[in-house]
Symmetry: C2
């Protein structure tokens, strides 16, 4: 290791014996008492990862749990929109205050931008740093579940979140179409590389009911959830339908009004983890 | 500009009078004669950008044009899969040879990996450099159309492609659901920032026909193509249906067998540009 720069955070080596795993974790803010941190991840974008994150947060908040969302996916403004949050984040020199809506604390890059349609054309290290600050420079206070809406794929920000936040588990979201490809494998392997436990696999956009004849329609092909989860030795968690009406409610910031029993089993699993 | 490091490539300033726009462009390989380079971009992932790229390439190759695909989207292995390409890329010290299938030349990071389900956990600058090499260290030779399948969003690799490849135009792909959000705006604004002309807007996953009653079903809500394109002053190019059978053929590497008239108008527009 002659080229060692003694900065584990910028080194990709997994085999170095001098590596200090702890040193990669961002220091926690001592005012924050966060019980569980779950990352919602996917091998590629557009699978409804932000939808699942928002729905998990909404479901657990309705059950009375203290929930926070750290929106680390800077490419889309999905989370603030779903909850109808438009106010800018404010804070002091030392600390930033999350937006609070329906008892859910939300931090998102889109709540810092002057103009939300401005592209976040930041280079990786700047983005990655912003996400770290969203963890340890935000006044989260007491939280049962902090959900991290990850950027899709295996790029800079995903790596940084996995390396620098003490994630308790990853929920991998996919679609029936992507289940047959290698995309789920990439997400599974990244979590394994980072030594973060995988809670399980969620199949989104599995089917919709034809509004005319009410039969199920499979826009992305038949479900492969059970077999693919089995192939990777992870738990199949849920198979979620498409409903354009939900999209309309989410675009209008009314996610809390959606009756959504499809994640109940996942919520029970997460609630159980609080006692671990 | 006291902090100028005299390297325009690593500087984000647009207003610096010393900026040398040309210096950002990767030097062309003189053996390559590429007539037109079009980037297929989207504000977020999962909108079927790679599908549109592959279909454009297939359609134009069927019409007899010389087509190449530079797969700059390293998060998913979509392009090689669609064309059934699995062979590893090979080359010499100086030059890399593209895979050739159905007369289409293809270069993709996934064709360099030992194991295609290995996550490409590379930091931004390494990725960005790989894409530049895919342009100027690949033996493309004579090409009418080089399609660049962009990574989604406005991150490192997207920025580098826009800055360092002489892109003739951008085609922005979206879904009906994303049309109502700010996501298209981000892609439009990025192209404007980079001073690259936008060819127009393609709406993917616009509808599908119920296999039972044959009525159209709109999984992602009604079309907003014309109005949103109008809002941004860009051309509405095409509204593309969903068909799970195509996905099956693409997963089996049989994209050339799909009869796909939906991009004919776009193809005519691109063919016309060859004469400009």
């Amino acid at each position: 290791m002659s080229s060692c720069n003694h900065n584990c955070a910028s080194c990709a080596s997994k085999s170095c014996s001098d590596r200090n795993q702890e040193s990669l974790l961002a220091p926690n803010n001592e005012k924050n008492k966060i019980k569980k941190i779950y990352a919602i991840h996917s091998g590629k974008g557009g699978v409804g990862k932000s939808f699942v994150t928002s729905m998990l947060a909404a479901s657990l908040a309705k059950k009375g749990y203290k929930v926070g969302i750290l929106d680390a996916d800077i490419t889309g403004p999905s989370i603030p929109t779903a909850f109808g949050v438009t106010e800018h984040l404010h804070g002091t020199k030392e600390i930033m205050y999350p937006a609070v809506k329906d008892n859910i604390k939300i931090v998102s890059i889109n709540l810092l931008l002057e103009n939300p349609s401005q592209p976040v054309a930041w280079r990786g290290p700047i983005l990655a740093n912003a996400v770290k600050q969203f963890y340890n420079e935000v006044c989260w206070e007491e939280i049962d579940f902090l959900f991290v809406d990850m950027p899709p794929g295996t790029g800079d920000v995903a790596l940084t979140v996995f390396q620098s936040l003490p994630i308790d588990g990853v929920l991998i979201v996919t679609t029936p179409q992507d289940l047959v490809s290698m995309i789920v494998g990439k997400a599974v392997n990244l979590a394994a590389m980072m030594e973060i436990p995988i809670v399980g696999l969620i199949e989104n956009m599995a089917y919709m009911n034809c509004p005319c004849c009410n039969n199920p329609v499979y826009p992305f092909g038949p479900s492969h959830l059970t077999e693919v989860a089995g192939d990777y030795g992870i738990q199949p968690l849920a198979s979620l339908p498409i409903n354009p009406d939900w999209n309309k409610q989410i675009d209008a910031g009314k996610i809390m009004e959606i009756d959504y029993p499809y994640l109940d089993k996942v919520c029970s699993l997460l609630i159980k983890s609080l006692r671990d």
